[in-house]
Symmetry: C2
Subunit: 179 residues, 2 copies
């Protein structure tokens, strides 16, 4: 079945936002989705961009629940002190009903092409340890689970802790480098 992979435009954001919500529901973590489409548009298109995205699209007559965009990959440049430039793959998702058609393969291949073109030596990402289909997919591509092999754990400071740590000072310091 035909599909195309292309860079996302601002018009794709409605469909990407719906897929992000669907993905969070599959993870049983939909309560963690605290931003809506407006944030994705602002951060991807009107400010920044803070991320880049690719979509996989099928012809209109094959749409599912109004979706012609049936998959997406969202990534941004990252950096490692040991190996330099890298890509962080934040999300790669294909709707149920469109698996086993090579759409995930095509999205990941395009991300790896972009990595190589931009002199990135690594693509990093996180997967939950109960998400066996994704783990199988990535391991078949040669990905290594660094949490298992080297013991790396992902940590996070949330907004509440950030505010406590700065004692509100974050709001007042005048000279700030953009990150």
């Amino acid at each position: 079945m035909a599909f195309t992979v292309r860079e996302a435009t601002v018009e794709d954001t409605v469909q990407i936002a719906a897929l992000i919500k669907e993905l969070a529901e599959n993870e049983n973590l939909s309560e963690q989705v605290t931003q809506a489409e407006e944030g994705l548009i602002r951060d991807g298109f009107t400010e920044g961009p803070y991320y880049k995205s690719l979509v996989a699209e099928v012809p209109a007559d094959q749409a599912c629940r109004g979706h012609t965009v049936v998959g997406f990959a969202l990534y941004f440049p990252s950096y490692g002190t040991w190996k330099g430039r890298a890509i962080y793959l934040e999300d790669l998702y294909v709707m149920k009903g469109f698996h086993d058609r090579g759409i995930g393969d095509a999205l990941l291949q395009r991300v790896t092409e972009i990595a190589i073109q931009n002199k990135c030596s690594l693509v990093n990402f996180v997967v939950r340890n109960n998400n066996f289909p994704s783990i199988d997919f990535y391991q078949a591509k040669g990905a290594v689970d660094l949490t298992k092999s080297e013991g790396w754990h992902l940590f996070r400071l949330e907004q509440e802790q950030l505010e406590k740590l700065t004692g509100g000072k974050g709001q007042n310091v005048p000279a700030s480098p953009s990150p």
Copy 2:
């Protein structure tokens, strides 16, 4: 003992590179450091910047092994589809002999100030599960171990896999968005 925290300049890179090497040796992973000072200068100052860094500096009369820069933090903007803008803290390191002086606290506080100023709701980072002093340090600040609490594992595709996945195509595709 007096120290100052400030944004790093290109002249600090020699000392930062030495601290990066020291940190990798402490992790027994120094074979993974495949880039030298030149890469850090290019990616932080002459191209990009792909990262930002802060240094903690002591007066010259308190230098240790030629180091007045006795600590650093290196970070870059990251993005989450669920919560939007974030900071990824790639490294935060303070030389042995300079611990227990609040230098790590001051570096982390400055990173969190920068996060808040840039409308980032999260600071993400990874720590090895045998690095108990660092885990204690971050957990005392309120950081959550998402690998433990939600099962997130860090995965990586290395250069060799990227080249296999693209079949060399990464070199030849003419139109490429910068990540």
